[in-house]
C-alpha cells in the first residue's frame, strides 16, 4: 500500500484552512439537516467569530446542528436557502431584521449551485412561476413557453464533508451525505474538504470518484466528532 504523501500541499491543518474564512465572504456550507455538514469546521468558524457572512446552504440545519450555529451566533448578514423551518431562531432573526433571507425552491437552489460550478451564468425554469419566487426575475419566452430566469450561485469558500479524499482531492461521499456537496465543491473559489479518511493517491477506484481533485484546494482530516438531529432528539 502506497504511503500517504502531500505533494500538492492540499492536506492542511484546520488552522490553515481557517485563514480563508474572513469577514464579509460568501460561503457555501454543504449538508442537509446537518447530514453532510462538517460540524468541525462550522465550529471553527463560530470560534473564529467572523462576521457579515453571506451563507449559502440548502437549509439552516437543525437546532444545534449544522450551519445553525453560525446563524444563531449572528455571524451571517444574509442566508440563501430553501428551508429554515427546522431552526426557529433563524426565522426570528429574519423577523427581527437581523438576517436577510433569500428563499429559493430546493431544486432551483441546487441547480443554481450546479450552474455556478459548471460555468453557466443562469438557466430557465418554470418552478416558482406565479409565486413570490418570481418577483424581480425576468421572464423569458423560449419555443412559445414562458420561464423565469434564475442566476447561478458561486462562493468565495465552500465547506464540504466527504467520506474519503485522496492526496489530490478526489472525493467519495457516503449515501445521503452526498446531497449538494459535489455541486458546492465546484462552485467556490476555495473548496475546503473535511475528509473522514485521507488516502494515498491511486487508492480510490477512478470509477468511484464523484468530485475530481481539480476542484479541491484544501483537505483537512476529519475529527470523527459527529452529531445528528435524530440522536439529539432521543
Amino acid at each position: 500500500m502506497a504511503e500517504l504523501q502531500n505533494r500538492f500541499g492540499k492536506i492542511r491543518t484546520v488552522e490553515e484552512a481557517m485563514e480563508y474564512i474572513n469577514d464579509g465572504i460568501t460561503i457555501m456550507i454543504a449538508g442537509f439537516c446537518g447530514v453532510g455538514s462538517s460540524f468541525r469546521l462550522i465550529r471553527e468558524i463560530e470560534k473564529k467569530g467572523v462576521k457579515d457572512l453571506t451563507l449559502i446552504s440548502i437549509d439552516a440545519g437543525d437546532p444545534g446542528v449544522g450551519p445553525e450555529d453560525i446563524i444563531k451566533n449572528e455571524q451571517c448578514k444574509k442566508l440563501i436557502a430553501s428551508h429554515i423551518g427546522a431552526t426557529p431562531r433563524t426565522g426570528e432573526l429574519l423577523n427581527e431584521g437581523k438576517l436577510e433571507v433569500e428563499f429559493s425552491p430546493q431544486g432551483t437552489l441546487a441547480e443554481r449551485i450546479r450552474a455556478g460550478g459548471v460555468g453557466i451564468p443562469g438557466f430557465l425554469t418554470d418552478v416558482g412561476m406565479g409565486t413570490v419566487i418570481e418577483e424581480g426575475k425576468p421572464r423569458v419566452t423560449l419555443d412559445g413557453k414562458e420561464y423565469i430566469l434564475e442566476t447561478a450561485l458561486r462562493a468565495d469558500v465552500a465547506i464540504i464533508l466527504a467520506e474519503k479524499a485522496d492526496e489530490f482531492g478526489n472525493l467519495v461521499y457516503n449515501k445521503t451525505a452526498r446531497g449538494i456537496n459535489p455541486h458546492m465543491a465546484r462552485a467556490a473559489d476555495i473548496t475546503i474538504v473535511d475528509a473522514r479518511e485521507i488516502v494515498p493517491l491511486g487508492s480510490i477506484d477512478p470509477e468511484h470518484v464523484v468530485t475530481p481533485g481539480a476542484y479541491v484546494d484544501v483537505i483537512v482530516q476529519g475529527g470523527g466528532d459527529w452529531t445528528w438531529e435524530w440522536q439529539l432528539k432521543k
Partner: protein
C-alpha cells in the same frame, strides 16, 4: 373504534399508487401513505436530498447516520435503490420521472392552484422542495382537512395564501371525501362513510359538482 380519519385519508391516497411508481411523500399525513402500500407492490420512494428507493425506518440502534430522508429521519434502502446528489434528485422531478407526489395543503383553488408553504405573520419556514414537486410531478395529490381549525374552507375559488404552484393539484383527499379538480372546478367523487353531499357542499368555498356515482368509502367494513 374505527380507523382514525387521518389513517383513512392516507389509505385512500395509497390507492392511487401503482406497481413501479416513483413517489414522493410530503410531511404530515402524506408520510403515513407508505403504511398502506399493498404488500408485494414495488414502489420507489423518492427523497429530495438524493435517494430513489427509500425504505422503512430502521430498528432502533440500526440507524445509519448518513442515510436520512427529506425530513431528516433515518431510513433504510429498498432493494433496487439508487443514491445521487441533490441536483440530480430534482433533475428526476423536473424531467417528469416522478409519477405521484402526495403533499399537505393549506389551501387549494378550484383551478388546482396550491398554497402549502407559508402563512404570513409567523415564522417563514421556506418552501423546501414543494414548489419543484408540485410543478413537475405527473400527479399532485393534496391531502388536507376539508376546513381549517376555525371551520373556514380550505378548498376555495382562489387561494389567499402565498402560492406554491399554479394549477397543479388533480386530486384532493379530505376528512370528508375525495374531490377531483376537473376543467377548472371541484367535483366530489367519493365520501367517507358518515359524511354527506350536503356537508361537503357546505364546507367547500367554491362550487362543488357531484359525480354521478359517488363512492362511499368504508374501510372499517372492508
Amino acid at each position: 373504534m374505527g380507523m382514525a380519519v387521518k389513517e383513512m385519508m392516507a389509505k385512500r391516497a395509497a390507492e392511487e399508487i401503482e406497481n413501479g411508481n416513483v413517489v414522493n411523500l410530503g410531511f404530515g399525513i402524506p408520510q403515513k401513505v407508505v403504511n398502506y402500500i399493498p404488500e408485494g407492490m414495488l414502489v420507489f420512494l423518492h427523497a429530495e436530498n438524493g435517494i430513489l428507493g427509500a425504505g422503512p425506518m430502521p430498528a432502533e440502534g440500526q440507524e445509519d447516520k448518513e442515510l436520512i430522508d427529506s425530513g431528516g429521519v433515518p431510513i433504510t434502502m429498498s432493494q433496487g435503490a439508487s443514491l445521487f446528489d441533490s441536483a440530480d434528485s430534482f433533475a428526476l422531478v423536473r424531467s417528469g420521472q416522478l409519477d405521484i407526489t402526495v403533499l399537505g395543503a393549506l389551501e387549494v383553488a378550484e383551478n388546482g392552484d396550491l398554497a402549502n408553504w407559508m402563512v404570513p405573520g409567523g415564522l417563514i419556514p421556506g418552501m423546501g422542495g414543494a414548489m419543484d414537486l408540485a410543478r413537475h410531478a405527473k400527479e399532485v395529490i393534496a391531502v388536507t382537512m376539508h376546513t381549517d381549525k376555525k371551520g373556514n374552507p380550505k378548498l376555495k375559488k382562489r387561494c389567499d395564501l402565498p402560492l406554491t404552484a399554479l394549477s397543479c393539484v388533480s386530486l384532493i383527499i379530505t376528512d370528508i371525501g375525495v374531490v377531483k379538480v376537473e376543467d377548472g372546478g371541484f367535483v366530489l367523487t367519493e365520501l367517507f362513510e358518515g359524511h354527506t353531499v350536503e356537508e361537503a357542499i357546505e364546507k367547500t368555498g367554491a362550487d362543488l359538482k357531484i359525480a354521478d356515482n359517488v363512492r362511499i368509502i368504508n374501510y372499517d367494513a372492508e
